[in-house]
Symmetry: C2
Subunit: 492 residues, 2 copies
Amino acid sequence: MGKEITSRSQDYSQWYNDLVIRGGLADYSAVRGCMVIKPYGYALWEIMRDTMDRMFKETGHVNAYFPLFVPKSFLEKEEGHAEGFAKECAVVTHYRLKGDPDKKGRLMVDPDSKLEEELIIRPTSEAIIWNTYKTWIQSYRDLPLLVNQWCNVVRWEMRTRLFLRTAEFLWQEGHTAHSTSEEAREETLRMLGVYADFVENWMAVPVIKGVKTPNERFAGAVDTYCIEALMQDGKALQAGTSHFLGQNFAKAFDVQFLNKENKQEYVWATSWGVSTRLIGALIMAHSDDEGLILPPKIAPIQVVIVPIFKGADQKSLIDEKVKVLVKQLKSAGISVKYDNDDNSRPGWKFAEYELKGVPVRIAIGARDIENNSVEIARRDTKEKMSVSMDGLTDRIANLLEEIQLNMYKKALAYRESHITKADTWDDFVQLLNEKGGFVSAHWDGTGETEDKIKELTKATIRCIPLNNEQESGKCILTGKPSSQRVLFAQAY
Amino acid sequence: MGKEITSRSQDYSQWYNDLVIRGGLADYSAVRGCMVIKPYGYALWEIMRDTMDRMFKETGHVNAYFPLFVPKSFLEKEEGHAEGFAKECAVVTHYRLKGDPDKKGRLMVDPDSKLEEELIIRPTSEAIIWNTYKTWIQSYRDLPLLVNQWCNVVRWEMRTRLFLRTAEFLWQEGHTAHSTSEEAREETLRMLGVYADFVENWMAVPVIKGVKTPNERFAGAVDTYCIEALMQDGKALQAGTSHFLGQNFAKAFDVQFLNKENKQEYVWATSWGVSTRLIGALIMAHSDDEGLILPPKIAPIQVVIVPIFKGADQKSLIDEKVKVLVKQLKSAGISVKYDNDDNSRPGWKFAEYELKGVPVRIAIGARDIENNSVEIARRDTKEKMSVSMDGLTDRIANLLEEIQLNMYKKALAYRESHITKADTWDDFVQLLNEKGGFVSAHWDGTGETEDKIKELTKATIRCIPLNNEQESGKCILTGKPSSQRVLFAQAY
């Protein structure tokens, strides 16, 4: 078909790029490190965003919008936070351009427009939000404050990859304020649960919930919880994080509340976020050499119908039949596209919608109409079957559910077969280099060992799983005593 | 009630600010010129955004996302565009901070991170988008391209007002590409129509559709169409614009397509946008000294229910009754809030929801339950009535429709009585200074006269209405011949 998609086995990284670009999800832009999210990719993001937004609202959160700019002095206030983000900040220093006197038709930065204080493009919004919360929170009656924001953020990255790591990306960031530590920790875990629910049940990607080691913590957090997913090349991908911030930001921005005992107390905080990076996870967890494979629950097009005809008479006969079918499918809440474009041949269309990962394809020709049947093809297994038009809508609805489930099961089976225990350094290294996936091993609990292991194997501790089994053993590198295994992997 | 809202007659501008801040819509931020959109204001924006988004999709548009940054050299490419926006650009010059060696714990811009080319925070996205379209458009088959983007933009403003004029604001910008001038002009007017439909039928604000004079055109456009609304202080507000860009951007970015005759041709373009400024228009078109008055079709809360009780017994009786009512209202698609918070008295709540502009209030006490009745109060007319619980949902649904219509009619009557003809300079000045509103007068068609009139009266030509009546007359300032009246007003 001349689709020219690099195969996974040949070059995984190029395969990924081909899918993103050829599948119409995103493209590089003329601005270093920034991507253009194309209409098909954005439609996917809209469904993901709207679904999560509903989940956030169902758990009591409201949306708001805070400024794009963070004054430099705000970023400085929480020390760990400042250190963590200083190296990747886009900085606005001037607010005006003017005609360049030396170059006709060219513009230059007007030196007279220099800002007294530089503004950082938000890499995350804790600083600007906690400065605002100071005026919103006076008493325990103002708590909890459960706010979320959908926006763009900028983190200047040297090496970028579409969706996975770009200078600008879209995300949501929840920022909540609580009167007790317990309540804030509950919230942190609640939102981790919401993320896991979304990624597993909508994106059909199984995740491991866990807590990060101090080395991998969010800059400014007391504890960072995460969900970790496994990609088809055996690398892990952090799909979402939820941070228990303790009183760090409340202290940095002096946010206190009058408690029920009429005493001033610092507020307890959480923040949590997922981004367009999830689209990268989705692609790498499910797709194949023919293109994307999208789970029905978030596919922008769930069913595509392709007519197969010779001449205008056959076409109009099929058009008429399909019109009814489209109506039935839509009224069952199924998103459907009828592609009866004359300019492309059915074979080209088949390949195109495979590339775009549409879960179900229906082909219908003149003979099918005679037989009161259609041909159904599912994208996940590539199975084809001829089925009756009678009861087709129910059948399709069931098939979509089946595909959703099957995709999850397949990804889960892969993930389950890629969590391997290692008890010797040699095994550990070999597993990481050859089999990939998560390697469950003992670790002595120090950042130094973690750094050393990363240096030697490129693997990091992805997380300490929640409710981790306690088991005494010896650190895989140093042999020092350890009370539990942790999950190592090479990661995106 | 101690609400401390400044009255309109006392200080219109302060009244507006009080409503925005006290009504919980937005607040100033610590960043100069940027606002925080608070949860209630953002909920309103979400409804407005989602409604328009549906309308855009129904007219064949898809969403996408383009980078926040515009390289300086891109902005330079379209001369008029560059001139128009250069003076209000936030400029990113560096991409990293580092610890300040002279001040412990402080950050400074790392001079080694200076960008080779400065990046402008998008004030609008024509430049970055047309640079992208160059790669998307090859042949007439790629046209029309009907893309919209929801995003934040930054225009550095010296004097800012919440929603009306802020350095950063949220908006949508449609950017379409067409193979013919006619088709692009049709699109420009189609989207103007969509805006008018939304503002009139959802926001209940009547608008005048027209075309801008060359002085007031968008920088880079061939023609700028607009919808103009009238505020209660007699000032006009531009509520949305739709631009016919001709081939200006296609030529600046060299975007050509192969037409059906196999010849290269420059693409024809439109762009169109509305912003969070619409919220300012909404407030100033409808509200009163008690607070906001929101049209039911976009109100985040359409109905609020306030219980009036003494003691826990009465409360639980009312709670139970209301539970059923809430369910009925919700299943009729009505958004309802039951405020049975013990900490506030009914009188305080009444004032609070009046301030927040909730269209319908239902009060229910123990005696109401005995009588199988409730008290309904409508926000727009402040009318109260005791009505039976039987058929209450239908009654509320009808009432919401009636309020929506009544608000539009009221605003329309005000607008109609504030379009006044002036045929002498003295009348013209007096009308603008005393009565306000639109003044319909003859103009000699020159930018000089327009500038002079602005200087003398602060009034600008808001638009030349579409399908304007032709009528010969003499320019209100110069006495030179004129073929039609245009609409002047002082404006936001």
